[in-house]
C-alpha cells in the first residue's frame, strides 16, 4: 500500500520536513538570540511548530521514507531500509509531541521570567529537544533513535539545570548522571541486539527476528539480553520502577514549565521509540514482555502509593507521572494493533491533562517549589476559572468520565486484558483507587471555602497560559465526549503493523 521511493531525492525529503522545521527554529533561536528578544523568538518557534504540524498532516497516509537503502537479502529478494520514515504512527506521535511542545512554549511565555530562564538559549534548547523527540518518532533504525534520544536528553539535562538555583542544579545533576548511566545501558543493549541480528535497522531486525533466516537460534540469548537492556534503558527515560527515582526530584526541582516539558514531550518521544522497538522491531522476540509486565505492576503500585504520601502538589504530579507511566506501559503489553492505538490515544490525553495541570501550577505558584496541596484550599473562590480547569484535569487524570482520561485508562486496560494480562488490569484497577484518592484531595480542597489569605501568585492568569490551559481542558473534555475525534485516526490496525517499516 505504501509507496517507498529509494535514495535521498527531494520527494523523500518531504519526510524530513517536520523535523527540519523544528531544527530551523532551534538554529534561529541560537543565532538570532543575540539581536531579537526572547518573546519574539518564542512566537516564531510556536509558528514553526505549527508549520511542522501542518506538514505532518500533509504527509498523512503517504508513508514517505527518507535516507533509504536497498540491498539484496540472503534469499535474493530486495529489502529497502530507511533511516527516517514518516509513516502514520510517526506522524500521530509527532503531532502529540508538538501539542506538548506548543503548550510548553505558551506557558513559558508567562512563567519564564519569574523562573529567571527567559533567554534565547532556553528556547534554543527546547527546540533542539523537540527536534530530537521528532527524530525518535520518525526514526527508522536504532542509531537514529539513539541520536534523537541523546539530543533530547542532553537538551533536557541543560533545561533542567538552566535556572540559576540550587534546586535546579541539583535536579540537573541527578538527571544527568543517572541519564548517562541509562544511555550507557541502552547503548549496550543496542550492541547486543546488533550482535544477535547483525543490523541496526528496524525492518531488518524485524525480518531477522521474525524468521529464523540470519538469526542463529542460539543467539536468542544475546538478542533477548539486548532487548532487556534496551528495555532497561528506556525504562529509565520513561521512569518505570525501579528506574524511576530521579523523576520526582527532577520534576520538582526544575522550573515548572520545564517539568511540564520533561513529563510530557520527553515521555511521549520515548514511548514512540519503545513502540518502534518493541511493537515493531522486536515484536516477535520472546522474554521482554514478561519482564515489562513485572516492571509495569511495580510502577503501578509504587507510583500510586508514593503519590499518596506527597504534600507538595508539584511533586505529587511528578509521582502521578510515574504512575501514569505504568498505565501507559500496559498499552505496550497489548498486541501492536490494540496497544499502539491505545498508547497513542492515551499519550495525547496524558499530554493534554498533565500539561494543563502543570501550566496552572506554573501560573499560580509563588516559588518554583510549586505549591503545597494545602495551599490549594479555596482556590475556587479566588481563581474560579483555573480552579475548575484544574479540577477537570485532575478528574481526567483520575480517569473519571466524561473526561478523556477515562477512555485512556479504559483502552489501556482493554489492551492488556485482551492480550491475556488480566491480573495486570485488575491490579491497575485497584491501584487507580489510590490514584483517585490523591487526585481527589487537592481537587476537593479547591472548592472548600477558606478564610485565610491566598497563598498563590495573584497575577498568574495571563492569556498565553490561559490559552494553553484552555487547549488542554477543551481537548480533554472533547476527547472524552467524542473519543472518535482522535481514536478514529489511531484505531486503524493496519498502520500499526508497519511500525518496523515493513
Amino acid at each position: 500500500m505504501l509507496h517507498t521511493p529509494t535514495g535521498t531525492d527531494l520527494y523523500a525529503m518531504g519526510a524530513l520536513f517536520p523535523v527540519l522545521a523544528t531544527l530551523l527554529g532551534a538554529l534561529l533561536s541560537t543565532l538570532l538570540g543575540f539581536w531579537v528578544s526572547r518573546r519574539t523568538l518564542t512566537y516564531l518557534n510556536i509558528g514553526l511548530l505549527l508549520v511542522s504540524g501542518i506538514s505532518m498532516m500533509t504527509l498523512w497516509n503517504q508513508g514517505r521514507q527518507a535516507f533509504t537503502h536497498t540491498f539484496a537479502l540472503a534469499d535474493g529478494q530486495a529489502l529497502t531500509t530507511a533511516s527516517l520514515q514518516a509513516d502514520n504512527p510517526a506522524l500521530l506521535l509527532g503531532l502529540v509531541i508538538l501539542v506538548g511542545s506548543v503548550m510548553t512554549l505558551l506557558v513559558s511565555l508567562d512563567t519564564a521570567w519569574r523562573a529567571r530562564i527567559s533567554f534565547p538559549e532556553f528556547d534554543a534548547m527546547l527546540m533542539y529537544a523537540i527536534t530530537g523527540a521528532l527524530l525518535m518518532a520518525f526514526s527508522g533504525d536504532l542509531i537514529v533513535l539513539l541520536i534523537g534520544l541523546e539530543i533530547m536528553s542532553l537538551s533536557g539535562y541543560v533545561l533542567a539545570t538552566l535556572q540559576d538555583s540550587r534546586r535546579a542544579e541539583e535536579s540537573g545533576l541527578k538527571y544527568f548522571l543517572l541519564g548517562a548511566v541509562g544511555s550507557a545501558i541502552l547503548i549496550y543493549g543496542i550492541a547486543f541486539v546488533y550482535g544477535a541480528t547483525g543490523s541496526l535497522n528496524f525492518s531488518e531486525i524485524a525480518l531477522r527476528v521474525g524468521s529464523v533466516t540470519g538469526l542463529l537460534p542460539q543467539n536468542t540469548g544475546i538478542l533477548v539480553g539486548g532487548a532487556l537492556l534496551v528495555l532497561a534503558g528506556f525504562a529509565f527515560k520513561i521512569a518505570l520502577v525501579p528506574f524511576h527515582q530521579w523523576t520526582p526530584d527532577v520534576y520538582s526541582g526544575a522550573p515548572t514549565s520545564i517539568s511540564l516539558f520533561l513529563s510530557t514531550v520527553v515521555k511521549v518521544a520515548v514511548f514512540a521509540g519503545m513502540l518502534r522497538v518493541f511493537s515493531g522491531a522486536l515484536a516477535d522476540a520472546p522474554g521482554w514482555a514478561s519482564v515489562l509486565q513485572i516492571l509495569t505492576a511495580a510502577t503501578l503500585i509504587i507510583g500510586n502509593t508514593a503519590a499518596l504520601l506527597q504534600t507538595n502538589f508539584k511533586r505529587m504530579l511528578a509521582y502521578s507521572a510515574v504512575a501514569h507511566t505504568g498505565f501507559l506501559a500496559m498499552a505496550l503489553l497489548g498486541t501492536p494493533a490494540t496497544g499502539g492505538a491505545a498508547l497513542t490515544y492515551y499519550l495525547l490525553v496524558y499530554t493534554l491533562m498533565t500539561a494543563a495541570a502543570l501550566a496552572i501550577v506554573a501560573a499560580l505558584q509563588r516559588s518554583e517549589e510549586g505549591m503545597t496541596i494545602a495551599d490549594l484550599r479555596g482556590l475556587y473562590y479566588r481563581h474560579p476559572g483555573y480552579a475548575v480547569a484544574l479540577a477537570i484535569c485532575l478528574a481526567s487524570l483520575a480517569g473519571l468520565p466524561p473526561f478523556a482520561g477515562f477512555f485512556g485508562k479504559y483502552l489501556a486496560f482493554q489492551a492488556a486484558f485482551q492480550n491475556g494480562y488480566v491480573w495486570l488490569s485488575v491490579l491497575a484497577a485497584v491501584t487507580s483507587v489510590a490514584a483517585l484518592i490523591y487526585y481527589l484531595r487537592p481537587g476537593m480542597l479547591m472548592f472548600m471555602p477558606d478564610r485565610t489569605p491566598a497563598r498563590e501568585y495573584a497575577h498568574g492568569q495571563r492569556p498565553p497560559t490561559t490559552l494553553a490551559v484552555g487547549l488542554g481542558v477543551a481537548g480533554v473534555t472533547l476527547l472524552g465526549l467524542l473519543p472518535n475525534l482522535w481514536y478514529g485516526w489511531v484505531s486503524n490496525p493496519a498502520i500499526w503493523q508497519l511500525l518496523a517499516g515493513r
Binding site: F447, N484, S491
Partner: protein, 483 residues
C-alpha cells in the same frame, strides 16, 4: 407524537438538567431559583410525556464505532419509573435548596448536574454508557460534599470516592471481559445479551467484579462504610443527602445488567448474595438503633432498605424482584423527604442530635409530617414502602424462608429505631429554655407533603407503577429461564 420523537425524549430528559446547570451560571442571581425550578419541572414534565407514551423506544447511535461503544438509551418499565422518581425528588430538592440555601446558585447547578447523571444511569442501555453516567453522577455529589460539607468532610469524601471507584473500576474490567470473551460486537445491552458467556468460572468471576461496583452503590455490607460518613458530613439541609439517596442505583444495575448478562452466575451465587442482603438489612437496622445523629440514623435506615432491595433482586423471584424495584423507586420519596425534614429540624433547633425533646409541642406540622414519613419508611401498610417490602419478603420466602425470616426481623428493629428516635426528638416535654421552634412555613409544607402524598398514593393504588415494572421484570426473568 411520532415514535422517533419519543425515542429522542430520554436524551432531552437526560441533558436538560445539565444544560440547565450551565444556564444557571449565566442567569442573574434573582432569577436562579425560578430558573432551576422551571428546568427541573420541565424535566419531570418530559418524564410524564414518556410515561404517557408508555415508555420510549430504544435509541441506538454509534458513539465510538472503533470500540463498539454505542449511545443506546431507553426509558421504559423499571427505568422509567426510577427516572420519574428521580426527576420528582430533584424537583423537591431544588425547591428546598432555593428556600434554604443562601445564594443557592452553585447548589442548584450541582443538583441539576447530578440529576443528569442519575437519569443517564437509568436510561443507558450500553455498558460503557452506563459506566460513564455512573461516574458522572459522582462528581457533583463530591462537589456538594466538598463545598457544603462539614468539618470532617475530607475523610467522608475520600471514603465515598474510593469505595465507588474501587467498585466501578473492577466493573470496568468486567465490562471489557464480557464483551471480549463473549465476542459481542458492541457494548450495547442487546448485543451483549445475544453473546452471553457460557456458564462457568469466568462468568462467575466477571459477575463478582461487576457486583463489587453494585454492592458499593447498593450499598451492601461490607462495602457500605462510606454511607454513614457521607450523610453525616453533608450539608445540614439534607439536600445533598436526597441526591445521594437517589444515587443508590446498585439494585437497578444488578437488575438491568447483572441478571441478564450473568444468568448462571447469579443463580449460582444466589444463596450467598441473599444472605449478605438479609444480613445487611438486619445489621443496619440494629446499628441504627444506637445512633445519636439523625443523619447517621437515616443513613443506616436507608442501608437497611437497600438490604431489602438486594434481597429481592438477588432472589430472582418475580414477585420479589418487582417488590425490590418498587421499594428502590419509592424509598427515595420518604427517605429523601426525611432528610429534608431533618434539615428543617436543624434549621430550627440548630442540632441534628436525636435528643432534642418536645419539638412537636411547638412544631406540630413538622412533627406530624416527620412521623408520617417515618411510618412510610418502616413500611406501614398503605404506604408505598409496604408494597415493596411485603412483595420482597413474600418472594424471598418462596426461595429461602430462613433468610426471609432474618430480613423479616428487621421490620421489628425498624419500628424500634424509628420510633425511639422520633420520640426522643419530637415527643416528651420541651426542656425549659430550649429555643422556641416555629412551625413549617411557606413551601416547606409542600416539600414534605408532596413526597408523602405520592408515597401514600402508590401505597394504595400501585397499578400505574406495577404496569410499568411487571412486564419488564417478567421479560428479564424470562431471559433467565425462570427460577
Amino acid at each position: 407524537m411520532s415514535r422517533d420523537v419519543i425515542r429522542l425524549l430520554p436524551t432531552f430528559m437526560i441533558f436538560l438538567p445539565m444544560l440547565g446547570s450551565l444556564i444557571l451560571l449565566v442567569t442573574p442571581k434573582r432569577w436562579r431559583d425560578e430558573m432551576a425550578g422551571l428546568l427541573s419541572a420541565l424535566t419531570l414534565g418530559l418524564g410524564l410525556m414518556i410515561w404517557r407514551a408508555g415508555g420510549s423506544g430504544m435509541l441506538d447511535v454509534n458513539w465510538v464505532p472503533a470500540l463498539g461503544i454505542t449511545y443506546a438509551t431507553e426509558l421504559s418499565g423499571v427505568s422509567l419509573a426510577l427516572a420519574m422518581v428521580t426527576a420528582f425528588m430533584s424537583f423537591i430538592a431544588v425547591l428546598y435548596a432555593a428556600r434554604r440555601i443562601p445564594n443557592p446558585g452553585t447548589m442548584l447547578a450541582l443538583i441539576l448536574a447530578m440529576e443528569t447523571g442519575l437519569l443517564g444511569i437509568f436510561a443507558a442501555r450500553d455498558m460503557v454508557l452506563f459506566y460513564v453516567f455512573f461516574e458522572d453522577a459522582l462528581l457533583p455529589s463530591l462537589l456538594m460534599l466538598a463545598i457544603y460539607g462539614k468539618a470532617n468532610r475530607m475523610r467522608a469524601l475520600v471514603k465515598f470516592a474510593a469505595y465507588t471507584l474501587f467498585g466501578s473500576l473492577l466493573m470496568l474490567v468486567s465490562i471489557i471481559g464480557i464483551k471480549y470473551l463473549g465476542g459481542s460486537p458492541t457494548f450495547a445491552l442487546a448485543d451483549l445479551r445475544a453473546h452471553v458467556l457460557p456458564a462457568g468460572r469466568t462468568q462467575t468471576w466477571l459477575y463478582v467484579a461487576f457486583l463489587t461496583a453494585m454492592a458499593v452503590k447498593l450499598p451492601l455490607w461490607p462495602l457500605h462504610a462510606w454511607l454513614p460518613d457521607f450523610h453525616e458530613q453533608n450539608h445540614d439541609s439534607g439536600i445533598p443527602d436526597v441526591m445521594g439517596t437517589l444515587y443508590k442505583v446498585g439494585g437497578y444495575g444488578v437488575f438491568t445488567f447483572g441478571i441478564t448478562l450473568f444468568p448462571d452466575a447469579s443463580l449460582e451465587l444466589r444463596p450467598i448474595l441473599m444472605g449478605l442482603a438479609a444480613f445487611t438489612a438486619l445489621y443496619a437496622a440494629w446499628i441504627a438503633f444506637h445512633q445519636q445523629d439523625w443523619k447517621r440514623l437515616l443513613a443506616y435506615a436507608g442501608l437497611s432498605h437497600m438490604g431489602f432491595v438486594a434481597l429481592g433482586v438477588f432472589s430472582l423471584n418475580e414477585t420479589a424482584v418487582i417488590g425490590a424495584m418498587y421499594l428502590l423507586a419509592f424509598q427515595n420519596l420518604y427517605t429523601g423527604a426525611l432528610f429534608l425534614a431533618v434539615g428543617m429540624l436543624q434549621e430550627r433547633t440548630g442540632s441534628i442530635q436525636v435528643r432534642v425533646g418536645g419539638v412537636m409541642t411547638q412544631a406540630g406540622a413538622l412533627g406530624g409530617l416527620t412521623l408520617a414519613l417515618w411510618l412510610a419508611s418502616i413500611a406501614v401498610p398503605g404506604m408505598a414502602g409496604f408494597v415493596g417490602e411485603f412483595s420482597i419478603l413474600l418472594g424471598a420466602y418462596q426461595v429461602y424462608p430462613w433468610l426471609a425470616f432474618l430480613a423479616g426481623i428487621t421490620t421489628i428493629a425498624a419500628a424500634a429505631y424509628a420510633l425511639t428516635a422520633f420520640q426522643h426528638t419530637f415527643w416528651q416535654a420541651r426542656p425549659p429554655g430550649g429555643i422556641p421552634v416555629h412551625d413549617l412555613v411557606h413551601t416547606e409544607w409542600l416539600i414534605l407533603a408532596l413526597p408523602l402524598a405520592v408515597a401514600i398514593f402508590f401505597g394504595l393504588y400501585s397499578a400505574p407503577a406495577l404496569n410499568l415494572m411487571q412486564p419488564a421484570v417478567k421479560a428479564v426473568l424470562a431471559a433467565l429461564g425462570g427460577n
